[in-house]
Amino acid sequence: MDHVIDVRGMVKRYSGRAVVDHVSIKVAEGEISGFLGPNGSGKTTTIRMMCGLLTPDEGEGTVLGLDVRKDSRRIRSQVGYMTQRFSFYEDLSIEENLNFVARLYDLHPVRDHVRDTLEDLGLTARRRQLAGQLSGGWKQRLALAACVMHKPKLLLLDEPTAGVDPKARREFWDEIHERAAGGMTVLVSTHYMDEAERCHRIHYISHGTLLASGTVDEVVSEAALTTYVIEGPDLADVMAQLTGAPGVDQVAPFGTTLHVVGRDADLLGETIGKLATDGFTVRPGVTSLEDVFIQLMAEPRETAA
């Protein structure tokens, strides 16, 4: 098995509209793959097709060496899937929820598995708390505990850190990296750029179409964008001047600076050169992943218009 996930041409339609349109993704063993894209771009649908919760309309492939069409039941029992919305029983305690999951996965002895998992994720002290009373960070920890307890080789995490504070997010990611180092493969969908940068590889999907795949550096360099950073007083005025100017694709304020991004380096340079420069400093900047994604998000709409 060279790839843990190897799906090709996955299509899912809802009332005739392709929500996922010929998406192919490969994820190698032990890799943390980030799955990025705006809301409603088809991330959740793609993940659900991979773990057998949705039947693809077209496409084929394997997950953990099992056919996504024929072996969906076996895939489900061998992956750990963390849903986007917290979906454990709020009227059960952490321990009771884990007992339930452990029994469904046929883990023996249940007590030892639950105890070790509680310990492992630092939930032991809170094990008797009702899941409904937990804060976002602890809920997420419980959800993670429940989907790693049966020691799956593949973790599919659907926006696991939405609504979680930065400290809990940091700890969560440390946890994920630790598990990847232990050989677990992870596919995680997210909106956060800093999380994308913690992935070995990223896949960017928009309007159901996969637009970019690769390491962060690869994706940034393939986008071939040029970025300038402008610093100075009265940036709002400069922003108004630059918006829609030749060669300028994005203008965005970042604190006391302005980021100007364009696809055509020469044209952008020319426009920047014409700016009244008294009082401003203009320097070339580093294109960020966010710049690339905003660019990617804008493009399909341009071609559609």
Partner: protein, 378 residues
């Protein structure tokens, strides 16, 4: 102006409410469906003075006096002779099964006694478990029989008139001779209460998971549809068992309802009935999207169950189509079974067909529910 009354705000609320109402198809359908259903059911199906009741004739002779009696009874509109048997035992079996409401016995010496003017008598036994069924038929008996004989002997009118006083129609009200309504209603209530609570509770089974968002997780865990179904319904069998115990004890202590049949047989029947009910509830939960819809669907099923099962109104009094709908309700078969066992002391042989019907519901509901259950979120 924030305080006070604003028609703008009221309009906003009304508009939002009506949009939500229109989006919820099931609720919208129920708003139109329930009044219409009630109207049709009450209007056409319910008849408190049932006619054409199935009757068994026990006779060995075919003389014209016997035929005259039969014709006269049929002319009243209450009796429909659909079984002609030769022995009292056969008639008894039909009675216990609930296949007939009356057994008319015309003794073999009837004709001879009429001719001899020697106290001719016929016996009419009525199934009085439901006192209202038999009352109309019995009350008209008085003169009908004698007049029939009168017509048979027009020549000897005088003799016949003399005989009129002598013809004796003996009426036996069986199973509930005093005509106590509770005897009929309380065993029926056992079924109705179970129907209401069991179906409503289990109709939430899957919709609760859907509403709370735990369904996606449940589906992603390795549990089969059969395991999920059984896991959802079996706990309610215990709830049902407690209810059955309470109702039976109360029936005995509060209403002194007679209990002539076997307890084991009754409990076996109740078990199958409750199983059918929880499966029906589970089936509803595979169809409803919200708990509200599940409640409404359960109610939608509950209504005809009460009206068309023979619980409130005599089953035999309903027109054919309503009886047909009634046959499709588990409660109908349960009522027949529970009344036969508790009031008539029926044995398994007699109620086997009711058991069979209830088992059929169990398998049908379970089968459809399993087919409807989606292992995926498609």
């Amino acid at each position: 102006m924030i305080a006070g009354f604003s028609f703008h705000r009221l309009y906003a609320l009304l508009d939002k409410e009506s949009i939500q109402m229109r989006r919820d198809r099931i609720t919208f359908g129920m708003m139109l469906g329930i009044p219409l259903l009630l109207l049709v059911l009450f209007g056409y199906a319910i008849n408190n003075d049932p006619k054409h009741l199935p009757t068994a004739l026990v006779t060995t002779s075919q003389d014209h006096y016997t035929r005259a009696m039969v014709t006269a009874l049929e002319m009243t509109g209450y009796y429909h002779f659909n079984h002609i048997v030769e022995s009292a035992e056969e008639a008894e079996r039909l009675f216990e099964k609930g296949d007939v409401s009356f057994v008319v016995t015309i003794p073999s010496d009837f004709a001879r006694r009429v001719q001899r003017n020697d106290h001719p008598r016929i016996l009419i036994e009525a199934d009085a478990t439901d006192p209202s069924v038999a009352s109309g038929a019995i009350s008209t008996l008085g003169t009908v029989a004698a007049q029939a004989l009168l017509r048979e002997q027009p020549a000897a009118a005088e003799a016949a008139e003399a005989m009129q006083g002598q013809l004796e129609v003996i009426v036996h009200k069986r199973y509930n001779p005093e005509g106590i309504t509770q005897y009929n209603v309380v065993p029926g209530l056992l079924g109705v209460i179970l129907q209401m609570t069991m179906v409503m509770m289990t109709s939430m089974a899957l919709t609760r998971e859907l509403e709370r968002g735990t369904m996606e997780n449940l589906l992603s865990l390795p549990a089969t549809p059969l395991e999920i179904m059984l896991g959802k319904i079996l706990p309610y069998l215990i709830v049902g068992a407690v209810q059955v115990g309470v109702i039976l004890v109360a029936a005995k202590l509060l209403f002194s309802v007679p209990f002539v049949g076997g307890l084991g047989l009754l409990l076996a029947g109740v078990l199958i009935f409750v199983l059918a009910l929880v499966l029906l509830g589970y089936l509803i939960s595979t169809m409803a999207r919200t708990q509200m819809q599940a409640m409404q669907l359960a109610f939608f099923f509950f209504l005809p169950s009460i009206l068309l099962s023979g619980f409130i109104f005599p089953f035999r009094g309903m027109p054919g189509w309503a009886q047909l709908v009634g046959e499709l309700l588990p409660l109908t078969h349960f009522l027949r079974m529970v009344r036969a066992i508790m009031l008539k002391g029926a044995t398994f042989d007699t109620v086997a067909n009711h058991f069979g019907a209830l088992l059929l519901f169990v398998f049908a509901f379970a089968g459809i529910a399993l087919l409807r259950f989606r292992r995926t979120l498609d």
